[in-house]
């Protein structure tokens, strides 16, 4: 029998009350993370990927936000039922988080050392001396030169990439079982991003920590993760192993995303964008959230919200129809041909007119 997953999110529902009505930021989201695995969560702004991760940490500001339903099972315990003091024992200890912006997620008026040793003393019961030594070890592990001196520096004395290293060191301080990295490299330059990704990969192999890697960059997902879930409008719309998802995407949104990014090693002359705008989460509808932007939309899509269904072994997608990437290509070519035909017809019309007059 397979080992029970480390984290299991079941039918998670998160709502925010706003002046305009209730926003369903996360809708019926279910997924799991195995020990030592890296799970990627991909989605655009407003897709609910960050809210999902904040819910796991129980960091949703309440009010206005609230976990309206579902379970978050961490090592068998339902975190949704935990009290604040029980959560404090988990946060930073068994689950920790790295945020996107290393500029704002460190306290600017406290020295790095103070911020790093806090969780070590709190969770691991270390003495100040022990905690300081451990902090030095952690800083050198993430590749910060002269760690014993840098420990007494303030955050503003570090560059962006260095701050993100400090954040990673803090995240790993208590040997967490799960590390949630929310767009950890989005604010960084590409050469620094490469450094940080390499570091995360190395640390993962050394410590065996499971990682939830949240990003909008499909390139980063391809290189970093074992499994991927794709979110759209607060829902999981596709879930598969990384190789399978990139080789054989089945949800029209995922297909659209992959077709709309220019590739460094590609030779496309023209991108195929996803038409239209991201969805409005205020609307409560029964249709497929992607229907207004979908190339393959059919009548059924407007009256039924598709749920995840198995489309291949260990591959689920929330689409009513069996769509794959080749079909989109065929479709796009057909569309171009139709447009050309219409143009030709118009041209002939004009010519006929001219001849007649």
């Amino acid at each position: 029998m397979a080992e029970a997953p480390l984290l299991e999110v079941k039918n998670l529902q998160v709502q925010f009350k706003t002046a305009d009505g209730v926003v369903n930021a996360v809708n019926n989201v279910s997924f799991s993370v195995n020990r030592g695995e890296t799970l990627g969560i991909v989605g655009e702004s407003g897709s609910g990927k960050s809210v999902t991760s904040l819910s796991i940490m129980r960091l949703i500001p309440s009010p206005p936000g609230k976990i309206a339903g579902g379970q978050i099972l961490f090592d068998g315990d339902n975190l949704v039922d935990f009290s604040e003091s029980e959560m404090r024992k988990i946060r930073g200890n068994r689950i920790s988080m790295i945020f996107q912006d290393p500029m704002t997620s460190l306290n600017p008026v406290l020295r790095i050392g103070r911020q790093m040793t806090e969780s070590l003393q709190l969770h691991m019961g270390m003495t100040p001396k022990q905690a300081r030594n451990r902090a030095i070890d952690l800083l050198s592990m993430v590749g910060i030169p002269a760690p014993d001196k840098r420990l007494d520096d303030f955050p503003h004395q570090f560059s962006g990439g260095m701050r993100q290293r400090v954040m990673i060191a803090m995240g790993l301080a208590c040997n967490p079982e799960l590390l949630i990295a929310d767009e950890p490299t989005t604010a960084l330059d590409v050469t620094i991003q490469a450094q940080i990704l390499e570091l995360l990969n190395r640390l993962k192999n050394e410590t065996g920590t499971a990682i939830i890697f949240i990003t909008h960059d499909l390139g980063v997902v391809a290189g970093m993760t074992d499994r991927v879930i794709v979110m759209y409008a607060g829902r999981v719309v596709e879930q598969a192993s990384t190789n399978e998802l990139f080789r054989n995407p089945r949800m029209p949104y995922t297909i659209g995303l992959l077709d709309s990014i220019p590739r460094l090693d590609g030779i496309q002359t023209r991108l195929t964008p996803i038409p239209g705008l991201p969805p409005d989460l205020l609307e409560k509808t029964n249709r497929c959230p992607f229907a207004p932007r979908c190339d393959f939309v059919q009548e059924q899509c407007w009256i039924e919200t598709p749920s995840l269904r198995q489309v291949a072994p260990d591959h689920t997608a929330a689409c009513l129809f069996d769509i794959d990437r080749d079909q989109r290509q065929v479709m796009a070519e057909k569309k171009i041909a139709e447009e050309e035909a219409a143009l030709d017809a118009a041209l002939e019309d004009v010519l006929a007119h001219e001849q007649a007059s």
């Binding site: 655009e44 702004s45 560059s159 990439g161 260095m162 330059d189 590409v190 050469t191 620094i192 991003q193 490469a194 450094q195 990704l197 390499e198 909008h216 960059d217 499909l218 390139g219 980063v220 997902v221 391809a222 290189g223 990384t242 190789n243 990139f246 080789r247 659209g256 995303l257 992959l258 709309s260 990014i261 220019p262 590739r263 460094l264 090693d265 496309q268 023209r270 991108l271 195929t272 964008p273 996803i274 038409p275 705008l277 991201p278």
Partner: protein
């Protein structure tokens, strides 16, 4: 008719230094941030020149110095036979009709208290391109060109999404019928699915109106996709400039090689095979750049000469410019380093 110069824009020795003042009473100038430090390049008529580099390398400053939004410290900017750095007052104002800019942040670059009609119509009125009711007709036409419903003309920027706002910014730039547009990170703030829409729009407009673009971005995949030629900047200097295909297939500067190898490719199988050149450390401060070649502190294949002598930016054939002492052997040396 006189034969038109092939180059729309010729830039020579462009420098943009920002003075750093002391905190004391006298506010003496104690140094300079050398944001752009001696660039020479040209932009051909109708082409897209991509300008890439990491934050702080001076790529945006270059765009602004060309448009004279910052007055350059030194150097010449020759646009279509006119020397922009010498223009003032009315002559400069006339010139601005020909050169426009699209900004990165569609939230900050539109006045929140003006309607779309006013935003796009303002440049038309300022330059007396249309009068009376024709202004509105022209604005509606421009909105259609950029793929917005002309019905939105009386709305305010906050009523639009990021991608739509970027379209408004593009319509505003097009309003004066420019020849040259600086696109300063026009898609970086947008969601992936919207980026492709804007990139396609920019390409369509270029074909339609014969525009010339300077496309500034940090995303190398996007730049490769849209540009005919690409220039790479590092710490205020240009390190490599080549036709797009050539640069990506055969990068000669070690920095370009590292930059390209660092870009993630959305294909797990390709990612597993790739060898990354991981640069150590951070970009040095432009306040006090390293001696010799600016890149020598992070270069994996540095030699002693690099530390003292600044390599010339020279053509290695076919318009492939590189500023590196080891340009011809850099790939081979880098291979060896990786093993």
């Amino acid at each position: 008719m006189a034969v038109q110069n092939e180059n729309l824009l010729d830039i020579n020795g462009l420098k943009m230094h920002f003075p750093v003042k002391s905190n004391g009473l006298l506010r003496r100038t104690v140094g300079a941030v050398k944001a752009v430090d001696g660039l020479s390049f040209s932009v051909k008529r109708g082409e897209t020149l991509g300008l890439v580099g990491e934050s702080g390398c001076g790529k945006s400053t270059t765009g602004r110095a060309i448009l004279q939004l910052h007055r350059p410290t030194a150097g010449t900017v020759n646009f279509d036979g006119k020397e922009l750095t010498k223009l003032n007052g009315e002559a400069m104002r006339q010139m601005r009709r020909k050169v426009q800019i699209i900004f990165q942040d569609p939230y900050a670059s539109l006045n929140p208290r003006m309607t779309v009609g006013d935003i796009v119509g303002e440049p038309i009125r300022v330059h007396n391109l249309r009068t009376g009711k024709e202004v509105r007709t022209r604005v509606e036409e421009l909105l259609r060109v950029v793929g917005l419903n002309p019905y939105f003309i009386n709305r305010y920027p906050h009523e639009f999404s990021g991608g739509q706002r970027q379209r408004i910014g593009i319509a505003r730039a097009l309003a004066v019928e420019p020849d040259f547009i600086v696109c300063d990170e026009p898609v970086s703030a947008l969601d992936v699915s919207i980026q492709a829409q804007i990139i396609n729009l920019l390409q369509d407009l270029q074909g339609q109106f014969g525009l010339t673009y300077l496309f500034i971005a940090h995303n190398l995949s996007v730049v490769k996709h849209i540009s005919d030629r690409v220039a790479v900047m590092y710490l205020g200097k240009m390190v490599e400039l080549a036709p797009s295909k050539q640069l990506y297939a055969n990068p000669m500067h070690p920095y370009t090689q590292a930059l390209l190898s660092a870009v993630p490719i959305p294909d797990p199988e390709v990612e597993k095979q790739r060898q990354r050149i991981i640069l150590q450390g951070d970009v040095p401060s432009p306040l006090n750049p390293p001696s010799g070649c600016h890149f020598h502190t992070r270069c994996p294949i540095v030699i002693d000469k690099c530390k003292v002598e600044d390599p010339p930016f020279q053509d290695y054939g076919g318009g492939h410019f590189v500023a590196c002492w080891r340009a011809t052997e850099s790939q081979e040396q880098m291979e060896k380093k990786l093993q």
